[in-house]
Symmetry: C2
Amino acid sequence: MSTVAEVETAQPTPADQPGIREGAFGNARSLACRECGNEVELGPHYACPECFGPLEVSYDFPVVTREEIEAGPRNIWRYKALLPVPDDIEQSPNMEPGFTRLLQARNLGRELGLEKLWVKDDSTNPTNSFKDRVVACALSAATEFHSKVFACPSTGNLANAVAAAGARAGIKTVVFIPSNLEKPKQVNSAVYTDSLVAVNGNYDDVNKLASEIAGEEDGWAFVNVNVRPFYAEGSKTLGYEIAEQLGWRLPDQVVIPVASGSQLTKVHKAFGELVRLGLVEDKPVKIFGAQATGCSPVSTAYKAEVDAIRPVKPDTIAKSLAIGNPADGIYVLDICRSTGGAVEDITDDEVREGILLLARHEGIFTETAGGTTVGVLKKLVETGQLDPTLETVVINTGMGLKTLDAVSDQVGPAATIDASYAAFTATGIA
Amino acid sequence: MSTVAEVETAQPTPADQPGIREGAFGNARSLACRECGNEVELGPHYACPECFGPLEVSYDFPVVTREEIEAGPRNIWRYKALLPVPDDIEQSPNMEPGFTRLLQARNLGRELGLEKLWVKDDSTNPTNSFKDRVVACALSAATEFHSKVFACPSTGNLANAVAAAGARAGIKTVVFIPSNLEKPKQVNSAVYTDSLVAVNGNYDDVNKLASEIAGEEDGWAFVNVNVRPFYAEGSKTLGYEIAEQLGWRLPDQVVIPVASGSQLTKVHKAFGELVRLGLVEDKPVKIFGAQATGCSPVSTAYKAEVDAIRPVKPDTIAKSLAIGNPADGIYVLDICRSTGGAVEDITDDEVREGILLLARHEGIFTETAGGTTVGVLKKLVETGQLDPTLETVVINTGMGLKTLDAVSDQVGPAATIDASYAAFTATGIA
């Protein structure tokens, strides 16, 4: 990757931020407002000073080749030239997430009537969800900003990822979760940090509290609040990997779960960047969003053919998708509509069915978010919204042991027997 | 890898096994008795017909280069030339396990007083344990033998791996577990298969029942019974990966958990093969075995300086290591003694401490088996049995969410608060 490192870009050292080193954010040029286009310099900012729109990282990309990427490490840092991270990112202790399996799902495809289906399986990330990707990018930013606390509000997976990455990096972590969160996700954060804070309320309440703390306390990097622009870029790696693992080409259709909506918008952004960089051929890709009916503000707006998202109070077992006021919901609507995709939602029972569909057919145990995505895929085929003859990728973002309760009453031993052959033959299983 | 595929080896088609295709077992030549050296042809055999000793796969290896391996897939099949699998193994639906992270553990090393420590983290395998490696090799053998049922007795992780791999491959699975197994591991098998059988008794009882069924029923491939020689070879990939990920060289010391003892013997075998093939330089590697005191027959024999393993009734939270009569225990003793290593054991409280040590310092949440290995590493340093100045690798074989109960009473939220900044500042965390 030496050509990437040596290329001279327009990215200056942020002048009014002493202590920020040259090249701290790689090829990133600025933070640009998604609404008005106003550019501000790279820093711990997330809202446009002109219009309060969300800021997003923009880049001056050098020439990047497939060969340079393929010669990189087997984790997201193979794409470091396309992320707001320094060229020496691999030297900082981090979780080394990504480059997860892309599995052809012949059995599930047959079951659902799809000719060519792939599962991008992010359940095998270091803390078993896609959040390790975004947190790795946020950790890099927090490090470059010399933050003293690494923090987040979370529905669970993010708390796991932040607490783990912080432990490995040796930075103090404080993670905030709704107090009614599944026990496994609680313990799975508390093993890494002594500062897990349970908050009475739903995710949106926790998120609001985090924003308040971020405004009051100095040196706190809330990954999905004040370093959100850097954090969010990590989701692009899902898109990069899908394209690279398909042999440097884009699929026809992708089904992606929608919580804040950030992941979906970033996968779409990633595809566009690969095309612009000449790394894949341009082609239409239909993007589909998946929600649980108990928290489906984006799907509701899509079906009502309106542009505004009306916030809801979540009531679903898909807690990692239970964001009632999704920050990127309007961009999800725009992308799904403009690409010819759709946003759909399913009931909690269909979520459970989706979990078992994926487990029984492909040997992947997903959490409720993945059950939602697989269940929505099924519904999209059944309702004719998704073309079963086109190549389709469904993203599994998390892991079933974190939401065990969702299925623990539905499956179990077929028989409990004494340790004798006679007892076994009596079961009729042989 | 074409040179590997095209090379002509001495491996014949097993003459008296019609239906076994040419090349079904790659470069494997025969099954050789570990005790008397007697060779039998490749088949679903596991005991020497001459002396009843355990059979192990032997090979006629072709020339294999680092470059060929590095050009392979990012899973265990990059080493297919060194495994008893066909050259087209990647075309069969399988879990694509392996090539997991090797992380330098600076924080944990500092805590334990080790100068250069690495963690080989197999918790990010498809079903979150190293068992996906061995099961992938067993599945290949079962497929080549045209088995109709894919089965195992298991302490939990193996059941997860067998049920998942079978689901993806589309072969009927039946998995047998002790009825007192942790609930997460039960559900984590039952999601994949409708034939999970809970057996009243400990693992050794379940194992005995499985052997009986394997003897009575035709067409059943019990991965760790009648196809055990093929299955066990999968553990070699842990050794291959450690060497490749260190930059094609061997470490000085390795700490490995001991259940049946198979993994430890196979990592040792892998290092030897890499040396013989000229893929790494020869050097002394001290091998250490880790057990929980509540099931420590090998450690007990090691300390008593005897050669015979006296079976025990397991009583430990490290259930995935709770094999009271370890099949490869005597070989573990031999290897640890002859390489200058040791076998050590720790209490359940030290196991819990090991889990938290790894989580708090490196952001890896391991199960009780990994807690045992990390805890034993600590004890080995403290007792002067392991040289802290030498480069050391510790293997993490599994994942904490499967044995949540071990730590769920020890960690939790630091505070539960209402969603206000005042409530937060009152905690004193800021």
